[in-house]
């Protein structure tokens, strides 16, 4: 390469600042290859209107097309369409998954009258468990950690019975998690309820037996 760099002649070293698209993270001039072109264009229009004018002007688009042969153009077009379709389905899936993803808040009995509260499923909503765990620990002034579940995956374990507090806190601070998707489970109660149901059934059976 040698001594052909213009920047090398400058006295003050300075880095170039490149704008990156907020949708596909590429430099905006490459958005057209990403599959989410429409969204990228909208984003750019909103955040960098001048750049948008430059990149999406009719002249620019025409210049882009004129450098390719007709045949290649057609192929590129097809490819772009395929990519766009793929991106669209992937996104739809993601949304669906997110809507279906439940967050479970579980109270687990540790030792008579001592409880820990386990929160599972937050990672589906794009939260980072480690950070959330730390925040929870700070907020409730207790121990809080990310633990591995027996079934695979990870959950946050907070010391103490904080079912209600957690529910409120999560809904309030992490707006991405819809309240309807949060489910509180009380494990010990469930056991008791099950036991009670079993007992009732047993007595009923006994009564019938008589």
């Amino acid at each position: 390469m040698g001594d052909n760099g213009v920047a090398g002649a400058e006295s003050i070293p300075q880095s170039k600042v490149v704008v990156y698209c907020g949708v596909c993270s590429l430099p905006p001039e490459y958005c057209e290859f990403g599959g989410t072109t429409k969204k990228c264009e909208e984003w750019l229009k909103k955040h960098h209107p001048s750049l948008h004018g430059e990149l999406y002007s009719e002249a620019a688009i025409e210049a882009n097309l004129s450098t390719l042969s007709l045949d290649a153009q057609k192929r590129a077009e097809k490819d772009a369409q395929k990519k766009a379709a793929k991106a669209a389905t992937a996104e739809a899936k993601e949304v669906e998954k997110k809507a279906a993803a439940k967050v479970y808040i579980k109270r687990v009995e540790r030792n008579k009258r001592k409880y820990v509260t386990a929160v599972a499923g937050l990672e589906e909503h794009g939260l980072e468990l480690k950070k959330v765990a730390k925040d929870l620990g700070k907020k409730f002034a207790t121990g809080s950690s990310v633990t591995k579940m027996a079934a695979g995956g990870e959950e946050i374990t907070v010391q103490g019975d904080l079912t209600e507090g957690l529910l409120e806190y999560i809904v309030k601070t992490y707006k991405g998690v819809p309240e309807d998707n949060i489910e509180c489970i009380d494990e010990s109660k469930k056991k008791k309820a099950a036991a009670a149901a079993a007992a009732i059934a047993a007595t009923e059976a006994g009564l019938q037996g008589r």
């Binding site: 390469m1 040698g2 052909n4 760099g5 213009v6 920047a7 090398g8 070293p13 300075q14 880095s15 170039k16 600042v17 490149v18 596909c24 993270s25 590429l26 430099p27 001039e29 490459y30 290859f33 990403g34 210049a63 882009n64 450098t67 390719l68 290649a72 590129a76 490819d79 772009a80 990519k83």
Partner: protein, 195 residues
């Protein structure tokens, strides 16, 4: 090389002596970076080393947000991350590909020679590429040189990697892969979450 998404690997701090080594190595490989080195890698800043799959190591500046700088496969030369290339585009060997090749590169294909030898592409020419394209240099590049691949009609680079064949050979044969296993826009390394 980074076609698949990369799971964030273990991050560890780099010893300052090793950090100095990386710094001098980077300057050795990319002499033009020297005046900018203090901006890229301030002496006081902590470097992070992140292990990636396939024995690739990524060096990043431990600020917030983390700034990825160079990656290295085993003991191959340090290769700049594209975000660094975008900041200092004039400090590396460059070639240019035509417009038709962009979409293949961005979907992870190896860069094939015709993309660079066609009218839209640029390679270093002994008699220069003309006023406008002086930046592609005049010296032929040897195989193994780290090149930044720019694209016709685009301002920023789209790929960076090691040349598989020299530019002289490329011009002679006009066939085969030119850059394999590079780092391109939108690949796993580009999309890697670092904090």
């Amino acid at each position: 090389m980074f076609k698949k998404e990369i799971p964030p690997g273990t991050k560890s701090k780099v010893k300052s002596s090793v950090q100095r080594g990386i710094r001098s190595k980077a300057i050795e490989t990319y002499p033009l970076l020297e005046p900018y080195m203090d901006e890229i890698m301030p002496k006081k800043e902590q470097l992070d080393m992140i292990k990636l799959p396939d024995r690739v190591t990524l060096y990043a500046l431990s600020a917030s947000p983390v700034v990825p700088l160079f990656w290295q496969h085993m003991d191959d030369p340090l290769i700049p991350h594209l975000r660094l290339v975008h900041r200092f585009p004039d400090c590396f060997h460059r070639i240019r590909i035509d417009r038709g090749a962009i979409r293949f590169v961005l979907s992870g294909a190896a860069l094939m020679t015709p993309g660079a030898t066609s009218p839209g592409g640029r390679l270093p020419e002994a008699d220069g590429n003309g006023e406008e394209d002086y930046r592609y240099g005049t010296e032929e590049l040897a195989p193994g040189t780290v090149v930044v691949v720019e694209a016709e009609g685009k301002e920023n680079a789209c790929m960076v990697g090691q040349l598989k064949v020299g530019t002289k050979e490329m011009k002679a044969t006009k066939k085969g892969a030119a850059v394999e296993a590079g780092h391109y826009l939108g690949d796993g390394l580009w999309n890697l979450h670092l904090d």
